[in-house]
């Protein structure tokens, strides 16, 4: 919302600095984003008096002028302007000056003589006769009155106003108008608000003889006010009006169109003026458009309507898109003789829908979308008629045509002062509250501890019902100043703050990953269908049950991810390309599965990580998981061959704990690696966060340290090359022996380089294991040990056809 200071001064005594005004408005809830000076692009242009003019010795068309800019020394300006004379005052752009087209002025030698600046005309200053009489001349602007030499040109031209650019919150559509925002400004300035009084013009004859209005669909158009003016004299609007329109960024067109725009700015209500001769029978019909009906709008574009859009029509054709733009066929032209002013209320949702569907919004539609109200519709049309009358733009006919389904009766609300005080922690009396409300034109009278409030028509945000006390509390708080309300500590019950276990677990997981050398990534939740192809995820895989976003940025961000792997591969690529030298990244994040016909998609939290680089291999990544499990207190984890298609078929493992599958780990398939553009392999793991959390040891308990010594034994065996180490360990642990076998681990694997190498037959390999033997009752003797080892070897032979390697 743009508020020119000059306009504000029409209604309010402006008695503070701009900074103070900005501050006060901010503390009332109106943020002034910018204070824009008039002619903001013009810099270092000032008034000068020409004291001497001589012919340029080297150029017939140039003259050399001495000028006085109020300083001791006079400057020389070389000009080709023919209209300057000695003694006249003109604008001069000095060294470093900026002109409206962004041009910068520098001293220049012109045919051998230095010119220390340049005289300016209206064009260079971006103004014409509207702003300043004589600025329209296609030459240097000769100032009409005497000004001090050296004065800023903006001041000399009387164009030194400022415009406040105010950001409005959506609850205050009434402040989308000069009148509305000035009402608030007056209160902020502590000054009375001189609200404009509209003179209601009763015209000659009867408007019904010229025009009529029918609303087919009052749910979408609760009110339509119209007034008729004949014998139009279409001409430019007066300069004061043009100047104001230009100040708020509107282009003056002609008196009738300018009046509608002026009222839009002044009262915030969008209006339209039809050429009445182009409205068949003068009959305006507000109806839903026919599907596919085409309306050519004022901007010359054909707009195809759909049946859910509201059309302004006459009995034969559309003449405008309701709330968006008028039709070209009924536009005000130089030949228009009679007009119908439309001031209507359209429902925001419908206008929003129409603008979105047509991809076309206007100043008017923006106002309708924010919400307009029915009483203001009437005020606006009568203000337009008053302007027509005052400007002598035509003959006003009869009175207002009004089709109104809206409730325009006065709204009354009762507010409870005690409750308001209890919300704010204040101690206002009812009278004090009434006087605060009066400052923003909300009439209220005290009735005991209650306020009887007449809600002004423009305050659509104030409810009469449940919310009244809170609404009024906000007004009271705002007017009193939030700064003046005390700051207290909450009383009542004390609370024990708590970090929930899932949050605490996440902290632990993340801290451990960081300790293990990983950087934390946060990738967007969006992914593309193509990424699933790149990851070679089969159509039937659960990961394909993606949730699709209806209105994504594009197809490549249209799905909610079901795995974090794609994101990590992309993170890795970024780091590889930028040579950051880091190859370990992890992410803890949610994925979503479209596997739930009832209710919300399943949300699953995952922990995933990637290892990349020459030092990394399957086992370094597996080591990370083992370390993590160790810190988390997860026991009995197993890694068995298997896992997703994105892995190397021979280098992937499914991770389970106590038989519950919690994730997978593997080297990325070389095809996937190439699809993502990575130059060499990486290892990736993905774990289900909540399943992992279920398997942490909830209670940690001390287990006695073995009293009797542990005997460590190593064995080397020869087995089929496909036998997994875990398999052997399982067999060793299952051997029936009288002693305790613990801590079995593999420490060497040897594949023969050629058949019979080191006595290992073809198709076999050698593996060496180490395990601990002990008893809880006594120190083991040789016999115990030998017997145990023998039993283990026997079991290995029986179950795996394993031979002791000699």
């Amino acid at each position: 919302m743009k508020l020119p200071l000059k306009w504000l001064k029409d209604y309010v005594n402006y008695n503070v600095s701009h900074d103070e005004f900005v501050r006060r408005m901010l503390l009332r809830g109106f943020e002034i984003a910018d204070v824009i000076p008039e002619m903001p692009n013009i810099k270092n242009v000032c008034v000068c008096t020409i004291t001497n003019i001589e012919q340029h010795p080297n150029a017939e068309r140039l003259r050399v002028c001495d000028i006085d800019i109020g300083e001791e020394e006079q400057l020389k300006i070389v000009t080709n302007a023919a209209n300057v004379t000695v003694g006249c005052q003109v604008p001069v752009a000095l060294d470093g000056a900026r002109l409206t087209d962004g041009m910068e002025v520098k001293p220049t030698k012109m045919r051998g003589i230095m010119s220390y600046g340049m005289f300016c005309g209206g064009a260079e200053l971006g103004i014409n006769d509207v702003e300043y009489e004589g600025a329209g001349v296609d030459s240097v602007l000769i100032l009409n009155e005497r000004h001090p030499n050296g004065q800023r040109i903006q001041e000399a031209l009387g164009l030194d106003d400022v415009i406040f650019d105010i950001e409005l919150t959506p609850n205050r559509p009434d402040c989308q108008s000069i009148v509305g925002i000035c009402r608030e400004a007056a209160s902020a300035l502590g000054q009375p608000f001189n609200e404009p009084v509209i003179e209601r013009i009763q015209g000659e004859g009867n408007a019904d003889d010229y025009a009529s209005v029918t609303i087919d669909n009052p749910e979408l158009c609760p009110r339509y006010c119209a007034r008729v003016v004949t014998d139009l004299k279409i001409e430019p609007s007066p300069k004061w009006m043009q100047l104001r329109l230009k100040l708020v960024g509107l282009r003056p067109i002609n008196n009738i169109v300018d009046i509608t725009n002026y009222v839009l700015i002044e009262y915030g209500h969008p209006m339209h003026a039809f050429d009445l001769a182009c409205v068949e029978g003068g009959h305006i019909i507000v109806r839903n458009a026919d599907e596919g009906e085409v309306v050519t709008t004022l901007d010359g574009k054909d707009r195809t309507m759909s049946s859910d859009m509201l059309l302004i029509a006459d009995p034969k054709k559309g003449v405008g898109i309701a709330g968006v733009m008028g039709g070209e066929n009924s536009e005000i032209t130089a030949n228009t003789k009679a007009t119908l002013f439309e001031s209507a209320v359209f429902i925001p949702s419908n206008i929003r829908h129409t603008t979105q569907k047509l991809h076309h919004s206007t100043d008017s539609s923006a106002r309708f979308v924010k919400g307009v109200e029915a009483v203001n519709a009437e005020i606006a049309v009568n203000r337009a008629i008053e302007l027509v009358y005052k400007l002598g733009a035509g003959r006003v006919i009869g009175n207002m045509i009004d089709v109104c389904a809206a409730d325009v009766s006065e709204r009354n609300a009762i507010a409870d002062c005690d409750h308001i005080n209890s919300i704010l922690d204040t101690e206002f009396t009812a009278e004090q509250m009434c006087s605060l409300l009066a400052s923003i034109n909300i009439p209220a009278v005290p009735e005991g501890n209650k306020l009887n409030i007449t809600v002004p028509h423009f305050r659509t945000d104030i409810e009469t019902g449940v919310e009244t006390d809170w609404d009024i509390a906000e007004e009271i708080g705002r007017l009193y100043g939030y700064d003046n309300i005390p700051s207290t500590l909450m009383h009542g019950d004390t609370f024990q703050g708590k970090l929930g276990s899932r949050f605490a677990f996440e902290d632990l997981v993340k801290d451990t990953m960081v300790a293990l050398g990983f950087m934390e990534a946060y990738n967007y939740n969006f992914t593309s269908p193509q990424e699933y192809e790149m990851l070679r995820i089969p159509e039937t895989d659960e990961k394909r049950l993606t949730v699709r976003i209806r209105n994504p940025f594009g197809e490549d961000q249209s799905l909610m991810r079901t795995t974090l792997i794609g994101g990590l591969l992309r993170t890795m690529l970024v780091n590889y390309n930028r040579k950051t030298g880091v190859g370990r990244f992890f992410e803890v994040g949610n994925v979503h599965f479209n596997n739930n016909s009832e209710g919300l998609p399943e949300e699953r939290k995952l922990l995933s990580f990637i290892c990349f680089g020459t030092n990394e291999n399957f086992f370094t990544a597996k080591g990370v998981i083992e370390q993590l499990f160790n810190v988390l207190g997860v026991e009995n984890a197993r890694f068995d061959a298997g896992g997703g298609e994105y892995f190397h078929p021979g280098r992937k493992a499914i991770i389970s704990i106590d038989g519950d599958v919690i994730g997978e780990l593997g080297t990325i398939n070389s095809k996937v690696q190439k699809a993502f553009g990575l130059p060499s392999y990486s290892i990736v793991a993905e774990l289900n966060f909540d399943k992992l959390m279920n398997h942490i040891r909830a209670v940690r308990k001390y287990r006695p340290i073995p009293k009797f010594p542990i005997v460590q034994r190593d064995i080397a065996i020869i087995v089929d090359k496909d036998v997994a180490a875990q398999n052997v360990i399982d067999v060793i642990n299952s051997a029936k022996v009288r002693v305790i076998i613990e801590n079995c681990r593999v420490f060497d694997v040897y594949y023969p380089t050629e058949p019979g190498d080191k006595g290992i037959p073809e198709g076999k390999k050698s593996m060496a294991f180490s395990f601990d033997l002990r008893s809880d009752e006594r120190t083991l003797n040789d016999e115990d040990i030998n017997q145990a080892v023998k039993a283990i070897l026997k079991t290995l032979k029986f179950r795996l056809d394993a031979e002791l390697r000699s």
Binding site: R352, S422, D425, S487, D493, R548, I549, T571, F586, G589
Partner: protein, 340 residues
């Protein structure tokens, strides 16, 4: 014999001075004091002497032996000292060479660090963590929060929709509805999470970002309590010297609503380019929970009061670390992460 003894002694002491190694020392020791040593040989001849001579020679020989033993011992320790110092010198290192670690530590994303700081500050004020789903019902995200269909304020938050009823939550506030509907008041909750808005990514916008909501529900809560809580919280997160101020604003789910400004963390409130010369920085929104929301969630707004505030973690991270492009938080560039 006495002369010979004296000669042996003098000679040995003289040679001792030139000895540089333990081996030479051992050899000298054997040569003089060993079983077949020169001094031992003299002592062996004593049996042939008269008792007087024997006593005299014995005394002299013992004194010589003691003196030589002591001198050799002394020499031995000085040689050891020398060897040690040579060794130490040889082992001298350049202590400015870098340390060695197995795998260097990784780094948390600043979003996590900042989230934890804010969260823990609130836990200190008696808040408990709470969470809700990222894909949410329209009803919880909007309608229950006093944003009925076609409410103009829905335009404030451009929404990614899944279907008619489901969307990517645009704020953490739907968790307020979930809490109000499921928990027994009174309570104080801190609710962190990812939220989503249709904002093309640029230096200050991200379609995915982190928010944290505070919600307090109790019988007797005032706007002054909200101010006090915000002030305490701001000091805990940004430092004791940082001031806060509330100014009127609008959110459909609060009434009265306020925007929270903090005194500029760069200039301390003097006014600088970071705060556009105002001395204040906008940090979050807050307010007394709208009675419609309380009612929509099944509580009586006359009985239960509530206030809420929502803070953008990304924004705080950017302010705190002077990050000028929010996209850095989501890019995963290790050079960025390492710095913070």
């Amino acid at each position: 014999m006495l002369d010979e003894l004296a000669k042996i002694r003098e000679n040995a002491l003289a040679r001792l001075k030139g000895i540089k190694t333990e081996e030479e020392l051992d050899a000298l020791n054997t040569e003089i004091l060993g079983r077949n040593g020169a001094l031992t040989a003299i002592l062996r001849t004593m049996g042939k002497l008269s008792p007087e001579e024997r006593a005299e020679l014995g005394k002299a020989a013992n004194s010589a032996k003691q003196a030589l033993t002591a001198a050799i011992g002394e020499r031995r320790s000085s040689i050891a000292e020398l060897i040690e110092s040579v060794k130490n010198e040889r082992e001298r290192i350049d202590v400015t060479l870098p340390g060695i670690t197995g795998t260097p530590m990784g780094k948390l994303n600043p979003l996590t660090t900042v989230y934890r700081e804010i969260r823990d500050a609130l836990i200190g004020l008696g808040f408990t963590t709470f969470e809700g789903p990222e894909i949410e019902y329209d009803d919880y995200n909007f309608t229950k929060l006093n944003l009925p269909l076609d409410h103009p304020a829905r335009d404030m938050q451009d929404t990614f929709y899944i279907d008619e009823k489901t969307l990517l939550r645009t704020h953490t506030s739907p968790c307020e509805a979930r809490a109000l509907m499921t928990l027994e008041p009174p309570f104080r909750l801190v609710i962190p999470g990812r939220v989503f808005r249709v904002d093309e990514p640029d230096a200050s916008h991200s379609p995915v970002f982190m928010q944290m909501e505070g919600l307090v529900v109790d019988k007797d809560l005032t706007f002054a309590d909200l101010k006090g809580t915000i002030d305490t919280f701001v000091k805990a997160v940004f430092g004791e010297n940082v001031r806060s101020r509330l100014r009127p604003s609008f959110f459909p789910f609060t009434e009265p609503s306020a925007e929270v400004d903090i005194s500029c963390t760069i200039c301390g409130g003097e006014g600088c380019s970071s705060c556009k010369g105002t001395g204040w920085m906008e940090i979050m929104g807050c307010g007394i929970t709208n009675p419609h929301e309380i009612e929509n969630c099944g509580l009586d707004p006359k009985e239960w009061k509530a206030f809420a505030f929502g803070i953008g973690i990304d924004r705080v991270a950017c302010l705190k670390y002077g990050i000028n492009d929010i996209r850095l938080l989501y890019e995963g560039d290790a050079r960025f992460l390492k710095q913070l």
